[in-house]
């Protein structure tokens, strides 16, 4: 990475205290995002993708808490900020787009009010200036007749249009990083493509980096520069997007890519990873993937692999341990 990373996550762990002991939902997750880069984060439900996003924007739901590790934004540590300080970072420096656009917007205020409020809070602008800027923003997201639509309430917009408003809201204060958690999952396919294009275009224009969390590999393939594959609270592989998709180096990534039906090739049977992701209460020792892994070795059940160089990517898998080969 030539430039200093915009976001750096180091050994992030998130724990949930329960009556039966503490559950480690994230276990020493590390990655970084360069300025202007789009990092995709994929994995199946329960892998910890959304928790990673929530930790970064400081919206971890109690009783979950960051139990270890650090998060740096432009070199400044943000995981230990007070709520008040974090509130200033959120919106100003980190924008967020969530899955359901209806719950991200306040139904009682017009979208114009919500946009202007964000702008006035974070930027040095009057309400009148903020309103002009809000109209510009709304127009830039491709909402027709932005001048009139700005005084409409969220329920007067369709799902796709609402998600456009949410994107405008996320970019309102010109943040350096946008965390988008499943931004297209609630939308229809024909709308999905529009929203992804929009997110890409706007972030490029504003020079914002994006952390794109999704379970849809197709979306990642078309959008991201690099991708991190998560499994049971850990990053198991990270690398350039085409490498991870076409030449995955972790057995879980290869299984995941093979299990996705595609439009080009016709395969009679999909690659099948037997079993399912372990529950947090019963994460296997060693590599968490070992009970489902086709290339398991005795070592995998004892020692936990860290990310190590593997082909053009980095994978947490003992298959790539050079010391073993030597």
């Amino acid at each position: 990475m030539p430039m200093e990373p915009l976001l750096e996550v180091r050994n992030l762990s998130v724990a949930f205290p329960t009556r039966r002991g503490t559950l480690k939902a994230l276990n020493e997750v590390s990655f970084s995002i360069a300025p202007g880069e789009i990092l995709g984060v994929v994995g199946e439900s329960g892998a910890g993708k959304s928790l990673t996003g929530a930790s970064i924007i400081g919206l971890l739901e109690p009783p979950g808490r960051i139990s270890g590790g650090e998060i740096y934004l432009s070199g400044r540590r943000i995981d230990n900020l007070s709520d008040e300080e974090m509130r200033r970072v959120r919106g100003r420096e980190i924008g967020a787009v969530f899955q359901d656009p209806l719950t991200s917007l306040n139904p009682l205020y017009t979208v114009g009010h919500q946009l202007a409020e964000t702008i006035v809070t974070h930027l040095d602008m009057s309400w009148a200036q903020a309103r002009t800027r809000a109209i510009e923003l709304l127009a830039s997201t491709g909402i027709p007749a932005a001048k009139e639509r700005i005084d409409h309430y969220p329920h007067q917009f369709s799902g796709g249009m609402r998600q456009r408003v949410v994107i405008a809201l996320a970019l309102a204060a010109e943040p350096k990083l946008v965390v988008a958690d499943e931004p297209t999952t609630a939308l229809d396919v024909s709308i999905q493509a529009q929203i992804i294009e929009l997110l890409k275009k706007l972030c490029r224009e504003h020079g914002a980096s994006v952390m794109l969390i999704t379970h849809d590999m197709g979306v990642i393939a078309e959008t991201a520069d690099r991708v991190a594959v998560m499994y049971a609270g850990r990053v198991v592989e990270i690398g350039p997007v085409s490498e991870v998709i076409h030449h995955p180096n972790h057995p879980y990534s290869s299984g995941l890519m093979g299990s996705i039906p595609t439009l080009d090739a016709h395969v009679e049977r999909l690659v099948q990873i037997d079993g399912s992701m372990p529950r947090l209460t019963a994460i296997p020792t060693g590599c968490a993937f070992n009970p489902r892994c086709v290339s398991r070795m005795p070592r995998c059940t004892r020692e936990r692999p860290e990310l190590m160089p593997a082909g053009a990517t980095r994978a947490a898998c003992w298959l790539h341990d050079n010391a073993e080969l030597a």
Partner: protein, 337 residues
């Protein structure tokens, strides 16, 4: 399976101009006082297709296009406003007449949400045995044996029949739903988004299982999905729905290699694909209109790049175009290839 699939000889299911409207008018008094007319939501408005024996017919479309309504019409959960559905030559209304149970047995359904479609208070054994109670004269020990056999068939353990649904993962629950549907040896399985609630690796397991079962038991599937990649994987023939109508029916290969209807083309171009980096994309504008107030003429015309005056006023009828049946003026007039 080749092109002749677009016209099967003796179809298992024949749907002829079937429609289902829902009355969504305001209450009577309000209607009278405010002088408001009745309002019908035309969820499905005149669709025609066949499904051959042993075939997988898929219906795709975006939310609100009426595909789930079709599924419910096919298993008799919704009556028809117009048209008819023939199952093996017999009209579906027979199902609700005396002796209709034999017909009902032959059509079973798998639902989308494996959390909502299994009774949480019943043990798995009872859930799977329920259709056996209704449709067969089996004794209790026979039922237990049959349930064990079914559980093995879907890749679960016979001992699982003493457990409750909450003890299973989403994929395992969908296997239980499949076992329940297979209990009475149906001919047709109507699968309404059977894998949409599942993660991709689990989806692969369920899709593989469904294919294996089809081969082994000679099942016919109506497979409903919004995911074109999944449809491409499972289907023999595909129908594309838009606002309550089928706009194109073709064999899978014809549809995916040579889509005819502008909406089908749009859908195919819109989906993000694993290998699609840098794919040139025609920009898709607009969204699905409100089905309560569909546009006149061809309902797709506001979003269609090929629409002309005729499309805005006159609803197109299905025509044969190459290997596909397409409902589009532009294709009929040869304005688009």
């Amino acid at each position: 399976m080749t092109t002749d699939l677009s016209k099967p000889e003796a179809p298992l299911i024949r749907v002829e101009d079937a429609a289902r409207w829902f009355d969504v008018s305001p209450p009577w008094l309000e209607r009278v006082l405010m002088r408001r007319p009745r309002i019908d939501l035309r969820a499905v408005d005149g669709i025609t297709f066949d499904i051959g024996r042993g075939e997988t017919f898929a219906l795709v479309g975006e939310s609100g296009c009426g595909k789930s309504t079709v599924a419910r019409m096919l298993v008799g959960l919704y009556g028809l406003t117009r048209g008819r559905i023939l199952f093996d030559g017999e009209p579906l209304e027979k199902m609700s007449q005396p002796g209709g149970r034999a017909l009902r047995r032959r059509l079973q359904m798998i639902f989308q949400d494996p959390y909502a479609s299994l009774n949480p208070r019943w043990r798995v054994g009872r859930i799977i045995a329920e259709p056996l109670l209704t449709h067969t004269p089996m004794t209790a020990p026979e039922r237990v044996a049959r349930v064990s056999e079914l559980l093995l068939q879907v890749g679960l353990d016979p001992a699982d029949q003493n457990r409750f649904p909450h003890q299973f993962s989403g994929g395992q629950r969908q296997r239980i739903s499949i076992a329940r549907a297979l209990a009475v040896q149906p001919d047709l399985l109507v699968c309404d988004e059977p894998t949409s609630a599942l993660d991709v690796s689990v989806q692969a397991q369920v899709l593989n299982l469904m294919k294996d079962l089809q081969r082994r038991l000679g099942l016919t599937y109506l497979f409903i999905s919004h995911n074109l990649a999944v449809v491409h994987h499972v289907a023999d023939r595909v129908g594309v729905m838009y606002l309550g109508r089928i706009v194109e029916v073709a064999s899978r290969d014809a549809l995916f290699s040579q889509p005819r209807h502008p909406y089908t083309r749009m859908l195919l171009e819109a989906i993000p694909d694993l290998h699609g980096n840098g794919k040139s994309r025609t920009r898709v504008a607009g969204e699905v209109p409100n089905p309560l107030n569909p546009p006149p003429g061809c309902t797709f015309h506001p979003r269609c790049p090929h629409a002309n005056e005729r499309c805005r006023t006159e609803a197109p009828l299905p025509i044969q175009a190459g290997l596909s049946v397409v409902t589009c003026h532009a294709v009929e007039e040869g304005r688009i290839a």
